[in-house]
């Protein structure tokens, strides 16, 4: 703590500008805070949390330190039924907070139906829908089993999953393999082509990938890859071209040396090379393993999960245990593929906002000028997007740096108090799913999480 007397004053002015002017006229360094009243309905909760500010600060320091210290290591490949707790043959996991069949959006239903057929739980699509409606399947969020899934995020028992280990805190996270763009299960597509690809991923890709990993002789440090990818124009959510390339480069020698049918190895290499988003399904569990390391710290106001099921957007705080705080999933403001428009868009869906939770995605937008047009602006807007996120984030990343911001670390650790106080919402950039199952991705853009979720979270933390 700096003494006040006998040192140069540096003043943060919140409120009337006149006082800042007056200080500047006396040649005092003044930082003008653009203070606004907090989100209505949170005043009492914020006041109640105020006396605990120091305890919360210590808890938040710990949470951000854990996110930062975690080492997401790609360790191997397994099967959902073996890896995920309580994964029965009839369990179907999904993205976002908990939801029943009746409330599921089109793409999520489509993916559930596809997974049921893929698992042999239903004879055909109509059968799957009927069984889903009659309670034949057990639904649950990926997040509650250590997993994450992009878009619909549907995971069923036989699906192969990558295993990301964090040796520092001893936790793991899991994710399915990315299926590519177009007609894919995660966008609710479930026709024969989709099912055939799922089978190929299970039978060929997972095996080749696992053996190549094993051949490398040790896990792959995903933080290192993501950190490099950020300096190559990725932001780790909507652009994964550099991450995918770096991953493939890392795997390449092992793939070449791999025993077994060369055609399979080549097909896998071709599949990864042809799918810019392959790395998303590694960036997500890498993010999850870091965020989970920061969960469960008493009094911490840091967000450790943001996830959408296409109907609701849910968040979890480090200091409030397993509770979800939800609000309606937003509509995405973005660019559409030819022939589609906002009327085709499904509300926001997917666990991929786990990347924003640890300082990637929208929080690292400044690193990705190549996709800035999705934001509807120029590179300056991308810089401003990241800059705005520092206002609601507790810390800055050591490893994820933004070249055009002078290699400043990305903002990490969303403080729910700051979200409601500043009324600045986390900046999320995401893909847009068609509202009908099976059509696939129709665009990409920006979405605002519902303020309601943060209001509920702050109130819960304040015990009101």
């Amino acid at each position: 703590v700096a003494e006040l007397l006998g040192r140069p004053l540096a003043v943060a002015n919140a409120g009337v500008d006149l006082f800042a002017d007056q200080l500047e006229r006396q040649s005092v360094r003044v930082e003008r805070v653009e203070w606004r009243p907090p989100e209505p309905g949170t005043e009492e909760a914020l006041a109640r949390l105020a006396p605990e500010a120091e305890a919360i600060a210590r808890a938040n320091d710990e949470a951000v330190a854990r996110i930062e210290d975690a080492q997401p290591m790609l360790a191997g490949v397994g099967t959902a039924r073996d890896l995920l707790a309580g994964m029965s043959a009839r369990t179907i996991l999904h993205a976002g907070p908990p939801i029943d069949w009746a409330d599921m959006c089109g793409p999520l239903r489509g993916a559930v139906i596809g997974a049921a057929v893929h698992e042999g739980l239903a004879e055909h699509h109509e059968d799957a829908a009927r069984k889903a409606a009659s309670g034949a399947f057990e639904f649950g969020p990926c997040h509650e089993r250590g997993a994450v899934g992009p878009m619909a995020g549907v995971v069923s028992a036989s699906m192969p999953m990558v295993v990301v280990e964090n040796p520092v805190h001893g936790n793991r996270a899991f994710c399915t393999f990315n299926e590519g763009l177009g007609k894919v299960l995660r966008y609710g597509a479930n026709d024969d082509e989709v099912l055939a690809r799922l089978a190929w991923i299970r039978d060929v890709l997972a095996d080749v990938f696992a053996r190549a990993l094993a051949r490398l002789g040790g896990p792959i440090d995903l933080r290192a890859i993501t950190a490099q990818a950020l300096q190559m124009g990725d932001e780790g959510h909507n652009r994964n071209r550099a991450g995918t390339s770096l991953l493939l480069r890392t795997l390449l020698p092992a793939l070449i040396e791999l025993e077994g049918p060369a055609a399979d190895t080549a097909a896998v290499a071709r599949f990864i090379a042809g799918n810019d988003h392959f790395y998303l399904n590694l960036a997500m569990p890498a993010s999850k393993v870091c965020a989970d390391a920061a969960a469960g710290i008493d009094r911490s106001s840091i967000v450790v999960a943001m996830a959408r099921n296409g109907t609701e957007f849910g968040i979890r705080l480090s200091g409030t245990g397993d509770r979800w705080f939800t609000g309606p999933s937003g509509t995405i403001d973005g660019l559409y593929l030819p022939g589609f428009g906002p009327e085709d868009a499904n509300p926001d869906i997917g666990d991929s906002t786990i990347t924003e939770t640890v300082g990637l995605g929208g929080f690292a937008m400044a690193a990705a000028p190549a996709i800035v047009r999705v934001v509807g602006g120029g590179p300056e807007d991308a810089l401003d997007a990241t800059r705005a996120m520092y206002d609601i984030s507790w810390g800055e990343s050591r490893s994820y740096q933004i070249p055009p911001l002078g290699f400043r670390g990305t903002p990490v650790g969303i403080d729910c108090r700051e979200v409601v106080q500043t009324r600045v919402l986390p900046f999320v950039n995401t893909g847009i799913a068609h509202r009908e199952p099976g059509v696939g991705q129709v665009g990409a853009g920006l979405v605002e999480p519902p303020m309601e979720a943060f209001v509920k979270a702050v109130r819960a933390l304040a015990g009101s």
Binding site: L9, A10, V16, F19, E31, A57, I392
Partner: protein, 448 residues
């Protein structure tokens, strides 16, 4: 010379960062060789070339810090400092402003004081955030509950910080005027006060005697209440006692809680410097004694009434709370209104900035045939109205009644003390330098 090789597995940094870190650490005293790099084959070869031995099983995601130095720990500390140093960029004009104090503090760790003038309901959160990051707080905002104020001050004490306020009008820290404060010269007297205009009056009286102020610490009008217990006045006394620029200390407050007053007296007794406790003195007396302690002399007030006394009511219309209560005590009768009170500042600016409400009441009082003496204060200085005398002069010009104005200002104030005095005198007012003297004249003018 000691050799030191540290390996941090999985700690990835890009090569440019590490080259910058190596360069900075190599500048540390006694450093002979510093190599900080990822264990890439190339770097391992370079390390071997420098004579360092490293484990063979390292990979390109492992950080190696290799040092040869007189005091390797010092160089390691330098490396860690550089690795954790936040990158800073030159802020561009269009960079959006921070929207909260915590955010401002994160951006600019050098910020030392939070100046709050936000609505009182929101002070608890922002002030707590400021204290949590180690900023002192000047809380101009009013409307903060006593409970919140006490809690914030307890936190401040724990953290070794100052919480000035709530409803703190003034402070002078190292010559910097915060809030409503006067451009007084710097000098040997330190002031700590639970009263904004009380501090201003003492500052200005001292200034008129050629005695300067080291620091003036406002602590908020309720600091000496039983609930708050004088936490910040005690802290202020401590700070001034330790401060090399301060020779003598004045503590002023509206009438304090008796037990708290006792505690402050005890704290003052334990202070190695001379302390004038002004709780039972007029501000004039407090300033006189403080001046004496540092070898100064406050000139005796010489202003006199400009017409014969006229028995009748006294109406006190004040912008400063302490000035108002002091005058009321001295006059002993009449009606006194403090327009700076919360009751009159809801939804409008303080009367030192916006005189309109007081001028309305002045006009009404002037029309009241029972009122023979109008007693007012005019407070100059930073933050105050740019020319209060001209507006007030227009309102009193031609009035029959005695108009007595206590003019609280310093010669260097932006409003021009002499011009303000002349403007008021031309309009028929008796203008005094001391508030107590204005009150004495008002008493005399109304028939004693």
């Amino acid at each position: 010379m000691t050799e030191h090789v540290i390996v941090r597995r999985g700690a990835y940094y890009d090569s440019v960062t590490l080259m910058l870190v190596s360069r900075a650490a190599a500048a540390e005293a006694g450093a002979k060789a510093v190599a900080v790099g990822m264990a890439t084959p190339l770097n391992l070869e370079l390390l071997a070339g420098q004579g360092f031995t490293v484990d063979a099983d390292l990979g390109p995601n492992d950080l190696v810090i290799a040092i040869r130095a007189a005091d390797p720990d010092q160089v390691v500390a330098a490396v860690d400092r550089e690795l954790s140093a936040k990158a800073t960029t030159t802020p561009r004009a269009e960079t959006p402003a921070a929207r909260s104090l915590s955010s401002a503090a994160r951006r600019h760790p050098e910020l030392s004081l939070a100046f709050l003038s936000i609505p009182g309901d929101h002070v608890a959160h922002e002030a707590a955030a400021a204290l949590a990051v180690g900023m002192h707080v000047f809380c101009f905002s009013d409307g903060v509950s006593l409970e919140v104020e006490a809690a914030l001050k307890r936190t401040a004490v724990e953290r070794g910080l100052l919480f000035m306020g709530a409803d703190c009008g003034t402070a002078i820290i190292d010559g910097v005027a915060l809030g409503f404060a006067n451009a007084v010269r710097r000098g040997p007297v330190g002031i700590v006060g639970a009263s904004g205009t009380g501090i201003q009056e003492v500052c200005c009286l001292l200034d008129s005697a050629g005695v300067g102020v080291s620091h003036a610490i406002g602590v908020g009008g309720r600091d000496l209440s039983a609930e708050v217990g004088g936490l910040m006045m005690r802290r202020g006394l401590e700070l001034l006692a330790r401060d090399d620029d301060t020779q003598a200390i004045v503590a002023i407050s509206k009438p304090p809680d008796p037990q708290v007053a006792q505690a402050i007296e005890q704290a003052a007794d334990e202070t190695a410097k001379s302390v004038v406790l002004g709780f039972e003195l007029t501000l004039e007396q407090a300033a006189t004694r403080a001046a004496e302690l540092v070898g100064g002399v406050l000139p005796a007030p010489g202003e006199e009434l400009n017409k014969p006394p006229r028995p009748g009511d006294v109406r006190g219309l004040f912008a400063g709370g302490t000035l108002c209560s002091e005058a009321e005590r001295i006059v002993g009768r009449g009606r006194f209104v403090d327009f700076g009170d919360d009751e009159y500042t809801q939804g409008r600016a303080h009367p030192m900035i916006d005189p309109s409400l007081r001028l309305e009441h002045l006009a009404a009082a002037a029309r009241d045939p029972a009122v023979e003496v109008l007693l007012l204060d005019v407070v100059l200085g930073y933050g105050a109205h740019p020319d209060p005398a001209t507006e007030l002069a227009a309102a009193i010009d031609g009035l029959d009644q005695h108009v007595i104005v206590a003019l609280c200002g310093a010669a260097d104030d932006p409003q021009d003390l002499t011009k303000q005095r002349e403007t008021l005198e031309r309009a028929g007012a008796v203008v005094t330098r001391s508030n107590a003297h204005a009150a004495r004249l008002a008493k005399e003018a109304s028939g004693g």
